[in-house]
């Protein structure tokens, strides 16, 4: 934070940390923990697990700090770590066949489709409770996205990572990332059609 710029890029902070500046690392934690936590939470769907993932992510950053190259993007590195940790968690859960964890996130299995989920609130649209409900619907719609679309959507919308970086993190071509993003947006659009109209009507 003592740099000439008020907002030094992540990579600069990381370099400073490599040279022993622990405060720089604290800045990195503060800057990214929120997005990382939300990204992890939307993936593992259990706050406690998401917290563990974020914590472990930063531990690994410290452990492998010496390997970080200045040319690399810090976010690419960090989200790669987080993503892998999330995948590990999901895999563990799949092995354990622990349905309660899935249910803990409020997901009722694969039963209702996006259309069904978004169909019933129509009645409540008029009840002016739209704000909260809309958020819930969005969360549900995102949760029910296929994994590969959801992670792209989250990295783009939550972490605000450019497509190029997402492609690096997910190890697929950038065009694939974009088409996944487009599918995700189209599904959300479909699911939120009523709200969209409503929102437009509100304006």
């Amino acid at each position: 934070m003592s740099g000439p710029r008020t907002d030094p890029p992540d990579e600069t902070l990381m370099l400073r940390y490599q040279q022993g500046d622990r405060a720089a690392f604290t800045v990195l934690v503060r800057r990214h923990q929120g997005a990382l936590f939300n990204f992890a939470f939307r993936q593992v769907r259990v706050p406690q697990l998401a917290e563990d993932v974020v914590q472990e992510t930063f531990v690994r950053v410290v452990q492998n700090a010496a390997d970080f190259k200045h040319e690399a993007r810090f976010t690419t590195w960090v989200y790669t770590i987080t993503r892998n940790l999330c995948i590990d968690q999901l895999r563990k859960r799949a092995l354990r066949k622990h349905p309660s964890l899935d249910q803990a996130s409020g997901e009722e299995g694969d039963g209702p489709t996006l259309g069904e989920q978004t169909a019933d609130p129509r009645a409540s649209v008029e009840r002016e409770a739209t704000g909260t409900e809309l958020k819930e619907r969005i969360a549900r719609a995102v949760d029910t996205l296929p994994d590969e679309q959801r992670e792209v959507f989250l990295m783009r919308e939550v972490a605000n990572l450019p497509f190029k970086e997402i492609a690096e993190i997910t190890n697929v071509p950038e065009n694939t990332v974009k088409s996944r993003m487009r599918y995700a947006l189209e599904r959300l659009q479909e699911a939120l059609a009523e709200y969209e109209e409503y929102a437009r009507a509100l304006r």
């Binding site: 622990r22 939300n38 939307r42 531990v59 950053v61 010496a66 969005i138 974009k178 659009q189």
Partner: protein, 471 residues
């Protein structure tokens, strides 16, 4: 820009990832294209609407993160220090100077080893066994005498030695047990190349090679008996040394036949002695004097016979071998028979002798007996007594030490038989003795070097041994 080009740019435009020029082009297209405008605007409003509710950070997450990171940091410096040291060492190790220095040190170390090993061998070898290969079918040339170290205890070529009396009868002949013990080095036509380092095999090749270079005798098989090296030599020598050691200690004529057997000898010796024979080396080196003298005499006759045989004086060879055989040395009898065969007597006179040797040696069980049988069979082939030869060879094929040559002889026999068959078609031909000289002559000298190995069983006095080590 058309709709086709717009499609792939839709998301980039949506998230502002396009450069200004492209973005302007997209906007121009959208302004004139209702379809693309509707897609882009639909996406934009979805994006605007579909804002994920963010979860508030759990209380104290940052503290917990920083705490766990602090824990991890405690370990990291050590790791990074270690890895830094490792990479530093690695960078040094990869430098050419380091490699050169390593090579230099290696050279120094190696030369020290060579010097040391030569030193110890000069001082110590209780018995040094010299071998020299003799090319097949070649009688020993006079250079053999020169290349032989007269002081060499080995007396491998005792027969060639003009003064074999001083030479201890510890002999390891090419093709003999030393050869097999020393790693079955090939005995080529070159006498030098044919010599073998039998015992130093386990002692380190560097020293052995150095000796070879110096003395011209490859087969300086040193039974280093210096007390310094005793233990290490004992440990390192392995089976090769043990075999010879045993042989040296074992003097009775009955051992001779075993000693001469290329394959059987090491086993036989090992069976007899075990490793116990190693330690009291000085004792094994000095056997009873009476026995030594007797063996000496026996060897002399044998050596003289061999010398005569090599110089193709078969009558003299027969006489000498016969006299040596009088003590019951079946190997000498065998050589006497060979001398008869190669001499004036020819196969007809030799076969009864071979038979007698085979009988006295216990049939085809012993090496000498088998050898006698094989020689007799070859003789019979050359004399046209194919059926009798076939019988002998068939038995021999079951004797491990002679299975291969017996099979070879059988093949020759079959060739002769088929040739004879063809000849018989034209005219009845008598048994051709003419080829008898040529054919059996070839294998005989080839195996000839094996014979002196018999004398490996003879003891060597310590004095002789010390003299012998002088090369």
């Amino acid at each position: 820009m058309d709709c086709e080009k717009f499609e792939p740019l839709l998301l980039d435009e949506l998230y502002g990832e396009l450069d200004e020029v492209t973005s302007a082009a997209v906007k121009r297209h959208v302004s004139g294209c209702a379809r693309c405008a509707s897609i882009l605007n639909g996406m934009k409003s979805t994006r605007r609407l579909a804002v994920l509710p963010t979860l508030d950070l759990p209380d104290g997450l940052e503290d917990r993160i920083l705490a766990s990171v602090k824990e991890a940091q405690k370990v990291v410096p050590i790791q990074s220090r270690a890895s830094r040291a490792l990479s530093w060492a690695g960078s040094w190790a990869m430098r050419p100077q380091t490699a050169m220095a390593a090579v230099f040190l290696l050279m120094i170390g190696t030369s020290a080893f060579v010097i040391r090993s030569r030193h110890s061998s000069e001082h110590a070898a209780a018995v040094s066994i010299t071998e020299q290969g003799v090319p097949a079918g070649q009688s020993a040339p006079s250079d053999d005498h020169e290349s032989l170290d007269s002081k060499a205890a080995a007396a491998a070529h005792g027969p060639n030695q003009p003064a074999p009396i001083t030479a201890p009868p510890v002999a390891a002949a090419p093709g003999g047990p030393v050869a097999s013990a020393g790693g079955a080095l090939a005995f080529g036509g070159d006498p030098m190349a044919g010599t073998i380092d039998g015992i130093t095999a386990g002692k380190g090749r560097v020293g052995a090679n150095a000796k070879e270079d110096n003395s011209g005798l490859l087969g300086s098989a040193l039974l280093a008996a210096d007390d310094k090296n005793k233990d290490e030599a004992q440990g390192a020598r392995g089976g090769a040394g043990g075999t010879l050691e045993k042989k040296r200690a074992a003097s009775p004529p009955s051992d001779i036949s075993n000693a001469a057997a290329p394959a059987g000898a090491p086993v036989a010796a090992a069976d007899r002695g075990g490793d116990r024979d190693f330690a009291p080396r000085s004792q094994t080196v000095a056997p009873p004097a009476t026995k030594s003298a007797q063996d000496q005499q026996q060897l002399d006759g044998f050596s003289a016979g061999m010398a005569a045989y090599r110089s193709r004086n078969f009558a003299e060879a027969t006489r000498q071998f016969d006299s040596a055989a009088r003590s019951g040395d079946q190997n000498a009898s065998l050589w006497a028979a060979k001398s008869v065969k190669d001499g004036n007597g020819g196969c007809s006179a030799a076969i009864p002798r071979f038979d007698a040797v085979a009988q006295r040696s216990g049939g085809s069980g012993s090496w000498v007996g088998s050898e006698a049988q094989l020689e007799a069979a070859r003789c019979q082939i050359s004399m046209g007594q194919l059926d009798a030869a076939r019988d002998r060879l068939a038995k021999l094929t079951s004797v491990p030490s002679h299975a291969a040559p017996a099979q070879q002889a059988l093949n020759e026999l079959n060739q002769v038989a088929s040739k004879r068959e063809a000849e018989r078609a034209k005219s009845s031909a008598g048994a051709g003795g003419g080829g008898g000289m040529a054919r059996p002559a070839a294998p005989a000298p080839a195996r000839a070097p094996a014979k002196p190995a018999a004398t490996a069983g003879k003891p060597a006095s310590a004095d002789d041994a010390n003299k012998a080590s002088g090369f």
